[in-house]
Amino acid sequence: MKRKLQPGFVILLAITGLLLTGCGGAPKAKTYTIGVVSSSLNQENTVKGFKEGMTELGYAEGRNITYIYDGPVSADKLDAAAQDLVKAKVNLILSITTSATKAAQKATVGTDIAVVFIPVTDPVGSGVVDSLLRPGGNITGVTPATQEGKRLEWLLQVAPRIKQIYIVYNPKDPSPVLALKTVSETADKLGVELITREVGTTDEAEIAFQNIPMEADAIFFLPDTVVSARLVDTLKLATELGLPTSGPNMETVVKNGVLTAYGVDLAVAARKQAARLASQILQGTKPADLPVETAEFFSAINLKTAQTIGLDIPDAILRQANIIIR
């Protein structure tokens, strides 16, 4: 009789225990690895902004997130760099520039590694995503949209006397090619002429900039990895020659002294948008379900540069600028 009683008693105790303790436990802290692949020398603030954004979202570097990033690499080494990250079995790749994004996209084929890009000027046109709203595949990110027409208009507002604009670009890089298309259309509308030079290497870019045509009234920098490498030297020369300049992003104005810019602040976009997208992916959302986001854009003027080249800008125009470097 005593033996018959015991099993029943134990089962009842076990049920009671389960009911009392089955109210859930703390989720296990997971650690993640994000690889960064970049081909731009001027995007370190973007990476920094991204990391800040991730920290704000609860991913503390060294605690629950690790970054693999050895700095930007030249275009020919992008594929290898991306493949290295795949081999390292990262959870996600942050790709900076269109070329880097293409390399990351190629390297992650057949894997479940997601890619978040910033910036890709024309994600659809360059074949990175099917559409902004439905990216498809394993990739999404932040695009600055093509504000290149508006940027030309802004340059002309700031320096209305410009008639001919000098543009050096790498025809093999999709970013400047796409941007140039918009710039050309806008130039037609606004009645200015473009003088273009195609280059393949930074050395060629240097030569092209050392031989700025006499008739050029301004220099327009496209988002171009090869050309960006000669940005600082070229700006020095342009300033000496008294030529107005337009840069592809805020940083060129704020940091490098380009006269005007009309575009995105990538550091902010990386912090606010790219980091949020990355976080959602790490938490299990499929990249295909995350529409590509458009970054906020701003108009900027570097007043110091304007003064150096002897350009007088009316107050009405200055008031239209979102960012003024005085």
Binding site: L13, L132, L133, K150
Partner: protein, 867 residues
């Protein structure tokens, strides 16, 4: 019956505990749940209202900015450039505006500034568009439905404010703005939300236009706003507590929705229910346990007694009722157990007795069986008689031995007694009846076929429990054959004894263990001079008489025979009269059936006469040998002397010969002109003879030397040697045609220089005597005659010789041809023979005149050649 009391008692106790608890739990849980739900709903209401206030304020603010710019600045009165700059400034100041368009009183676009697009070249007319018509006609602000950018998915709303001329008070234009609803996402993002809480805005078309996660908006998520607040499926499909607050903008409506998952918002209620349930389960467990314990205390003793009674009735007396309580049930159980124990003890005693009786019966049965088997299968005839001599028992062996069956014999007087032994038998019967026991009796008996047999028997009395003899038993075996065999053996031994005593050799037999002499024949007395009796008495008498010089050897051999080495010795033996006799003694073992030695037989033969004869032969041989040695020494001395003599003669002859030749040469020089031709010819003959004599002496010397030179032996390759010799002769034989056939020759042991001389002589002869042949054929052969020697042959096709001179060929200075035909001194073959002889070999030759000759020599193999 079983369980019925228990089941009823158990159910009753559980019901009593659980019923009230269940009732209280349900009421408490329900109340907690409804309260929590209401509180959660209120919270979501509050959140939704806060956001709607913010959104409303934001849009009102935009409207105000548009009105201020339009109205305060008198926008319509400014020139195009100023209008454009003003709008551009507003655009850069307020980033919620995507674009601003100024329309005149007819709906014509005056100025257009946009954030992300370049100025259009041609401005359009919007006279029929709502954003113009509604403000123009009503003087009210116009809000459009939310619309989305097709590419980016971003939501926009159009706000148009009328511009009124201050003088006329009429609407003279409209300021149209495209507003980015994205700017209100920030308000939602900044909102501190609880776990599982979400706030979003849905337009009239059910599209989500604002959410803290922009992706939700951009991908065009839709949500059907429920008519009432409460628990509904939320945006993600899971159950939520949801509250809606609506904003009206002109004719448009936006739904501000705040929701929180049920799990989060009603967590407290759920916890309350869980705790209540846990308490109930706990109470259930406790009540069941307590109930069962009580039931057990009441029911178990009764049940145990019932079970035990059932078991006992089924025959299990070992069962006891396990009740320890001191109540009435306990007393009953103790009495029950005592009764059962007594019953069990009685049963066990009975069983024990039965077992013992059975064991005794079994022992008896086995003893009987054993006895019967012994009687039935015994080789002894077992017979039992009563005191009146009637047969009581007659076993199988008795049937076989006497021929009467048991049936014939039982109850009868034993039929096997012979008439003549009846008295003897009667006496034995009487003595046995008095208790005497007879063993090893040898008695004669009659068989059924009337033949007689001899039996060996033992007879003993049988007594009853009082000690009185009531019968006798006899055990007998037929010993007739055994007795016959003993007789035969005795006779055989006697015969052998007679043979042995007639032999001249001494034969004796000893016991292997005791060494006692079992038998010795009479020849012993003659050989040793001692009596046979003395040998029987002292077995060591023979050993002691062995000659002291041989004793040790013989004793050693005697010991070794024990190890299996046959004993066969010849030794001296001292006769009792002191004379020494030579004897040959042999000893061999006699083995029993197991192969063990149990006797030694020794034969000793007198061999004194043979020994003496052998001694004589040995002495004569020694004498002969001594004589041969002496004679050989004399011969060797004579030979040496002769050799020395011939050497000195030859040597001494050379000096005068040189004088003759020398002085003859001087004479010839001085007389060349004075002497005539004839005299000169004589002088030449003398000179030639002297030279030839010199050669003869040289050869003689070399021959002599050959006999005396020390031999230096080594391994000699005849093959190599013969080629060497032929090579030497080739210059001399130049111009001749040869057909050499040379076999492969062996390695021999010998003096290389001497063997070379043998080959030089033989090949030089062959070349010499074939000089007349057109083609010289020389064949050098080799064959191994036997194990001890090899034979080398040199055959040529030269002039040959007559076989009757074959013996002379190897003699000194023996020549078969004229000096004019074939030069030579006749010493070469003599040298060959001497060298070969010194090597221990032989030489011989075969030939036929003009048909060639063959010379043979043999050499012993390896080290067999002598000096």
């Amino acid at each position: 019956m079983r369980g019925s009391i228990r089941k009823r008692l158990t159910l009753f106790s559980i019901g009593l505990a659980i019923g009230p608890l269940l009732l209280v739990g349900i009421i408490l849980a329900w109340q907690s749940f409804t309260t929590q739900e209401q509180q959660a709903l209120n919270l979501q209401h509050e959140v939704a209202r806060r956001i709607s206030t913010e959104v409303k304020a934001f849009l009102d603010g935009l409207e105000s900015e548009l009105r201020i710019v339009g109205q305060m600045q008198g926008l319509q009165k400014l020139d195009r450039g100023r209008q454009r700059d003003t709008l551009a400034e507003l655009l850069s100041y307020q980033d919620a505006f995507e674009s601003l368009t100024l329309l005149d009183g007819r709906g014509q676009e005056q100025v257009h500034v946009a954030r992300s697009s370049v100025l259009p070249i041609e401005l359009g007319n919007r006279a029929k568009a709502d954003e113009f018509v509604i403000p123009q006609t009503s003087g009210q602000t116009y809000y459009s439905p939310v619309h989305f950018n097709e590419t980016t998915g971003e939501p926009f709303i159009t706000i148009a404010v009328p511009l009124v001329d201050v003088r006329t008070g009429l609407v003279d234009g409209v300021l149209v703005s495209e507003v980015r609803l994205q700017r209100i996402w920030g308000s939602i993002m900044d909102l501190q939300t609880g776990r599982g809480q979400s706030v979003y805005i849905v337009d009239a078309q059910n599209k989500v236009v604002a959410h803290r996660n922009p992706s939700v908006v951009l991908r065009g998520t839709t949500f059907h706003v429920p008519d009432q607040d409460g628990i509904h499926p939320g945006l993600t499909g899971s159950s939520v507590v949801l509250a809606v607050d609506k904003i009206r903008l002109g004719g448009q409506e936006l739904n501000i929705i705040a929701e929180q998952t049920v799990a989060e918002s009603l967590a407290l209620a759920v916890n309350t229910i869980l705790i209540t349930m846990s308490l109930m389960v706990g109470a259930l467990v406790i009540s069941v346990v307590l109930g069962l314990v009580i039931v057990r205390q009441i029911v178990q003793p009764i049940q145990a007694m019932a079970t035990t009674a059932e078991a006992i009735s089924a025959g299990d007396f070992s069962r006891q009722v396990q009740v320890t309580s001191r109540d009435e049930v306990g007393v009953l159980a103790a009495a029950f157990n005592s009764m059962t124990a007594q019953l069990r003890q009685s049963l066990e005693d009975l069983e024990q007795e039965v077992v013992e009786v059975r064991q005794a019966e079994e022992s008896l049965r086995r003893a009987n069986e054993t006895l019967q088997a012994l009687i039935d299968y015994s080789p002894l005839a077992i017979i039992m008689l009563d005191l009146d001599s009637h047969v009581l028992l007659w076993n199988n062996a008795a049937e076989k031995m006497y021929g009467w069956t048991a049936q014939e014999a039982l109850g009868q007087f034993p039929p096997f007694f012979t008439e003549d032994k009846r008295e003897e038998q009667r006496m034995i019967f009487e003595r046995v009846a008095k208790g005497e026991v007879f063993t090893n009796l040898e008695l004669e008996r009659r068989r059924k076929d009337d033949s007689r047999i001899l039996i060996g028997a033992s007879i003993a009395p049988l007594r009853d429990s009082t000690g009185n003899v009531y019968a006798q038993v006899s055990m007998a075996t037929d010993i007739t054959e055994q007795k016959k065999a003993e007789q035969a053996l005795r006779e055989s031994e006697e015969k052998l004894r007679q043979i042995a005593s007639s032999l001249r050799e001494v034969i004796w037999l000893r016991d292997a263990k005791t060494r006692h002499v079992l038998y010795v024949n009479s020849a012993f007395e003659e050989l040793t001079g001692r009596t046979c009796e003395s040998f029987y008495e002292d077995p060591d008498i023979v050993v002691n008489a062995i000659h002291p010089d041989d004793k040790e050897r013989v004793i050693k051999a005697l010991d070794q025979r024990l190890e299996g080495i046959p004993y066969n010795q010849e030794h001296r033996f001292i006769h009792l009269n002191g004379s020494v006799r030579w004897v040959a003694s042999r000893s061999f073992p006699v083995r029993n059936e197991d192969g063990e030695v149990f006797r030694w037989t020794t034969i000793m033969e007198d061999i004194t006469a043979r020994k003496l004869a052998q001694e004589e032969v040995k002495r004569l041989n020694a004498e002969l040998e001594q004589r041969v040695i002496e004679r050989t020494a004399q011969l060797e001395a004579a030979n040496k002397e002769l050799e020395a003599f011939s050497y000195s003669v030859s040597h001494d002859l050379r000096a005068p010969l040189r004088h003759i030749d020398g002085f003859l040469e001087l004479l010839r020089e001085t007389t060349t002109t004075t002497l005539d031709k004839k005299s000169q010819r004589y002088m030449t003959v003398i000179s030639d003879s002297a030279k030839r004599m010199g050669l003869l002496i040289d050869d003689l010397l070399s021959f002599s030397r050959m006999g005396r030179t020390e031999m230096s032996k080594s391994q000699v390759d005849l093959n190599e040697l013969i080629h060497d010799v032929i090579q030497e002769f080739m210059p001399e034989a130049e111009g001749r045609d040869f057909d050499w056939q040379i076999a492969t020759l062996p390695l021999v042991t010998g003096d290389r220089a001497m063997l070379r001389m043998v080959l030089v002589n033989l090949i030089s002869n062959a070349l010499k005597f074939t000089r007349s042949r057109k083609i010289t054929q020389i064949e050098i052969g080799y064959e191994k005659e036997n194990e001890t020697e090899v034979v080398i042959s040199i055959r040529d096709n030269g002039v040959g010789f007559d076989m009757k001179y074959a013996d002379k060929l190897f003699g000194v200075f023996q020549r078969l041809h004229r000096q004019a035909d074939f030069e030579g001194t006749g010493i070469g073959l003599a040298n060959v023979r001497r060298i070969v002889n010194r090597h221990g070999g032989r030489t011989w030759a075969e030939g036929e005149v003009d048909r060639g000759a063959t010379f043979y020599f043999s050499l012993p193999t390896s080290n067999q050649n002598r000096r």
